[in-house]
Structure formats: C-alpha cells, structure tokens
C-alpha cells in the first residue's frame, strides 16, 4: 500500500514536470519559436562541454548557498523575500573589506577570509533589519524584505556611481575589478573555484546537521510547526525567528561574498543575480528539504546557464529560463494540491 502511494506521489511529480514543459512549449509557440530547438539549445548550452558543465556549478554555488539560508527561515515559517537584499549587502561589505585591505600587503588568504567575514556581517545586518521590523515594528517580513531589497539595490548603484566609481567614468559594468591575487583561485581554464564548491557542500552539511541533529534545530522547527505549542514549551518564538533570520543572513552574506570573490571580482549593479528569488523557488519545489535542494539547485543553475544560449542561437530572450523555472514550481504546487485532494477523497470513501 505505502509502496503504491509512493509511486502515485512520484507520478504526480512527473506530471507536474510534464505540465510545466508543455506550458513552456506553448509559450515558445506563441513567440513563434520551435520548442524542441529551444529545449535542446538549453540542454546543450548547459552540458555540451566541460566548461559549460563547470559554469553550471559556478551558478550552483550561490544558488545552493542562498537556498541553505532560506531553508532555515522557512523552517520557522518565515517568508524571507528580503534575501536578495541580504545577498547584495553581503557583496557590498565584501567589496568594502577588499578595497580596504587590497593594498595593505597582508597575505591574500587573510584578505579573502576578511572578505568572507565582512560579507557574512553584511548579510546578518540586513536580515536582522527585516527581523527587527517584523518583531518590533509589526511589519510583515514580506514587505519589510521587499523594501529592503530595493534599498540595497539603490545602495549598490549609489556606490558604483558615487564613492566607488571606476577611475575615469562610472558605468553599469561595476567597480574596478580586484587584483587577481585576491580572487578565489579557480581550476585552470575554468571559472569554477574548488573553494567555493567546498564552501557550498560544507554549508549544506551544516544546515542539514543543525536542522536534524541539534536542539536549536528542533526548536526552530517547533516554532514553525506550531507557534502556540512552542510558547507552551517555553520557547520564545520571536527569539528563534530572529535567530533564523540571522542564520539565513550568514548564508546570504556568503552568497554575496562568493559572487564578489569568486565570480565577478568586483561589485556590479545586479550582484545578487536573482539567486535569492531563485532560491525561494528551489526551496518550495523541494518542500524545504535541504538534501533535495542540492540536485534541484543544480538543475535550476543548468537552466540559467543553458538559457544564455537562447539569444545567441535563436534570437529569443533568455528570460525563458525564468519561465521554465517558475512554471515548474507552479505546476508542482498545483499537482500537489490535486494529489492531496484525491487522497483526501479516497480516505473519506474508505472511512465510510
């Protein structure tokens, strides 16, 4: 029976994926593009050469880092839409630390570590701000976060066009790139850094461990699952929700730091690259289970990298990747709803 049920669940998931693909194909047909050609271009764009596969991992690192943080805020039942801003603040602080230390003569390792620490601090500050607005100001974390996202974007632009502008002329291309000695070292010939990969894997393990095997994790879950029961157990929900904001800020800050240290080597206007929102989609798609987020984030990262080929090969916009990603989550949720509805009906019938 339970085996049967697992199979039914699997069927529903697959049908969600098929529905999303059909929907995307329909969108492509409306745009007068050949769906098959688009899908194969995305696929080849992500896996056809070792460099492209490595690029997918380059995108996977910030995405899974952001998802790590979001799984924690989702555990306490919070919608941390402010993660985009938290990533940006992390990137800003990392850039600030690097600018401060780049000519100090300190060993590159120290400078890079300082960059990471500053990034974490930036992420925490911005996350705490959203948390404080929620608990001491009564502002929903969704709106506080959104507002803070826009403010973070403005701050980034202001720094790029103001105090940190490039010698000569300020432009959307960002601040002056840092010296190669303080980049995260990459594999020769690739953009992928083994260090950022290690960071991502360790982060996944830490989040898994915190949530599964610590008292703190248990309490975070208690707060998210049953607010009132948590209070009766003597757990202060607001304290643990603030803690989950801080923990998420750590990973958001790391995401920003990786974007600066390992990917762009400078501050650019869209430094968060939308990984925060994408991380929200990944987290929803895997039902907030960090283990499943690992392959799913890789799939989403590959879609992003593959999508880059679309304007080049077919003269269609690369936002198609976004359409695929969000429709995948949408149809997954709809199918999940249908499944629950059918199961409920079955139970009612068997009870009678």
């Amino acid at each position: 029976m339970s085996k049967n049920r697992a199979f039914i669940n699997f069927l529903f998931r697959i049908s969600g994926v098929i529905a999303a693909l059909l929907f995307t194909a329909l969108v492509l047909l409306i745009a007068k593009a050949n769906p098959w050609e688009a899908f194969s271009n995305i696929f080849l764009g992500a896996v056809s050469t070792p460099i492209k596969i490595a690029d997918s991992f380059v995108a996977w690192v910030p995405l899974i880092l952001a998802t790590c943080g979001l799984v924690i805020t989702f555990t306490t039942g919070l919608w941390n839409i402010g993660i985009e801003g938290q990533i940006s603040l992390g990137a800003i602080m990392t850039t600030w630390a690097l600018r401060l230390l780049q000519d100090s003569g300190l060993p590159p390792v120290v400078i890079i570590l300082a960059g990471f620490l500053a990034g974490i601090a930036g992420g925490i500050v911005w996350a705490l701000l959203a948390g404080m607005l929620k608990f001491y100001g009564g502002v929903s974390e969704i709106f506080a976060g959104l507002g803070l996202n826009f403010i973070a974007t403005a701050l980034t632009l202001w720094l790029i066009f103001g105090p940190w502008k490039r010698a000569g002329v300020a432009s959307m291309s960002g601040t002056e790139p840092f010296d190669m000695s303080i980049w995260l070292p990459t594999l020769t010939g690739y953009r992928l850094s083994i260090w950022s990969l290690i960071l991502a894997v360790v982060s996944v393990l830490i989040v898994y461990f915190i949530l599964k095997h610590t008292v703190v994790g248990l309490r975070l879950k208690a707060v998210g699952k049953n607010y009132k029961a948590a209070i009766q157990m003597g757990i202060s929900p607001s304290k643990y929700m603030l803690l989950s904001f801080v923990l998420c800020g750590v990973f958001a800050g790391l995401t920003g730091a990786v974007q600066v240290l390992g990917v762009y080597h400078r501050l650019i206007p869209s430094i968060s690259s939308g990984y925060g929102f994408l991380g929200l989609l990944v987290a929803m798609l895997v039902d907030y289970q960090i283990v499943w987020a690992v392959p799913m984030a890789l799939l989403f990262a590959a879609l992003n990298i593959g999508g880059i080929q679309l304007p080049i090969m077919m003269k269609i916009d690369s936002t198609l990747s976004g359409v695929m990603q969000s429709s995948l989550v949408l149809f997954f949720m709809l199918m999940d709803g249908v499944r629950k509805k059918i199961l409920k009906k079955e139970e009612e019938q068997s009870n009678e």
């Binding site: 959104l146 989609l281 916009d317 976004g322 949408l330 949720m333």
Partner: protein
Amino acid sequence: MNEFLTNMAGVIAAATPVVVAVIGETFSERSGVINLSANGLIVLAAMTGFAAAYLTGIVWIGLLAGFLTGAIAGLLISFSSISLKQSQVAVGFILSLLFRDLAYFLGTPFMVIPGPTVSGWAIPLLKDIPILGPLLFDQNVLVYFSYILIIASYYWIFHTRQGLVLRGVGEQPISAYSRGIDVNRQRYIYTALGSGLIGLAGPMYSLSIKAGWNGTMTGLDGIGWIVLSITIFGGWNPLRGSFGGYLFVFLQWLGLALQSYWTNVPSQVLQVAPFPLMILTLLFVNIGDTEWVTRMLATLPRGVRGAFYKLFRFLRKPPPASLGVPFERE
C-alpha cells in the same frame, strides 16, 4: 500657481492606475484572498494590453486585454488556494515571478514601437470650475472611470447587502456559510474581479501614463508591491486606499521636484525613495500592535495612554480576519 495645478493634475493622472489596482486588491483581500502576484501581473498586463491595442489599433481592446489578463490570474489564484488549498503566499510569489518573465519573454516583438494611446477629454462645463476643473476634469476617460470606481466600490463594500456578504466572507466565513452563502463562489468572483482591476492598471500605464512597451526598461517592476502595501495602509477601505495612492504619487513627484534643489543627492537614491517610505508607513500603521509597544503603553498615565490608543486605532485597521485562510465547511 498655474504650473502647480498642472503638476497636481499630473499627479492625479499618474496615481490613477495605482488607485485602481489598490481597489482591486482591496476587493480580493476583503473576500479573504491575497493576490500577491500583483507586481508581475501589472507588468504582464501592461504588455498584453499594449500588444492587443497595437495589433488591433483599438485602445479599448487593449484595456480589456489587461483586465482579462488580471481576471484569468485571479481565477488561477482562486483555483489553487480555494479548490486546491495551496498557500496563497507561495502561489502568489511564484506567479509574480512567472508573470514578469512571461511579459519580458513574450513582449520582445512589441519593444519600443509607437502604439495607440488613450486621448484626453475635458468634461464640458465641469472643466470650467475654477481650480477643480483643470485639476480633476481635464483628464482622460480612465481618470474619470477611477473617480466613479472609488465612490462605487466604497458604496458597494459598506452600504449594500452584497458588500455585507463580501465582508462576512472575509471575516467570518463560517457564519456566512451558515446563512446560506456560497463562500467559495464569492471568493472566486471577487478575486477574479479584483485581479481584473489590478490587471487593468497595466494598460493604464502602457497605453497612457508610460505609453509603450520597453521590456525591463518599462519601469513598472515594483509598483505592484507598492500597491500591496497601500492596500494595508488603506485598511481595506477604497477611500483610504485611494488617498494612499494619491499621497504616494504626490510624494514621488515631490522627490523629483526636490531633485533640482538637492543636486548632490544621487538620482538612484530618490528613485527608490518610495520603498523606505513604504516600510516606514507600514511601521507607523502596525507598530501599535506589537508586544513591546503595548507593554510600554501600559506604563503610561491614563490620559496619555488613551491618546496613543486612539492614534494607533486610527492608523491601524485590522485585516479581514480570514485573509489567506482556506474555508473548510466543518
């Protein structure tokens, strides 16, 4: 003085889509359903509305297309949250991303081309009233429609039987149900209608205030979030919500006007000024309800306390009690 009047007439015109979308969201939320996709929806409807008007050459078809885009989105949200019991926040957020990406992807053929626009029409006689005439009655039909909508929606919600039913469905669905009202049907209708109005805001931009479709440069990304916060600020009341919409656009205009005086403030900062404003507004509206303020107030002398309570009650209107909660018959 004349220049100021012209500017204020411009503020009223520019606030019109915001006001219409806020009223739409108010209808939807009054029935108990949040349409969190408003941000992406306005962008998508601006595109579909412009495309429809461009292809047919008729602006009204463009406006209708925007409304229908919204209504379909509303039905999708109702279906997922009412019939399938999925989280409104989750589905709304996903849709806000999906709609925006869809708009940018499908809108490519309509980028930066001139299309039809809604033309102005001054109302005879009324336009000759001093001050009010040039301010309110030398606009276009969309603006006049919004005046009627503000008054009609207020009247509908607070002074008709149907409005009573609508409020009941959002506050106490169980007692509404026991009085023989089909709660879910009401929610479907008002979410579709309200989301249609949010959608209508899209072509109000692309066929009038920010005429044309310019992809990511259209500058509509963010407005939907403002609409959602003004709905809260407005306490789910069309009059107060509309006031919030006008106030918001006025402050935006003030920011731009001051830019010429504060030349050392970078333009990026003034462009996002609405967002800290949004946070501050929500802070003022909600802070009276937090634990620490309640505790602090309790220590104050009675007279002072009473004044604060009054102030907070004035600022904060509680949301519909069943907002976001699916209705179960048992």
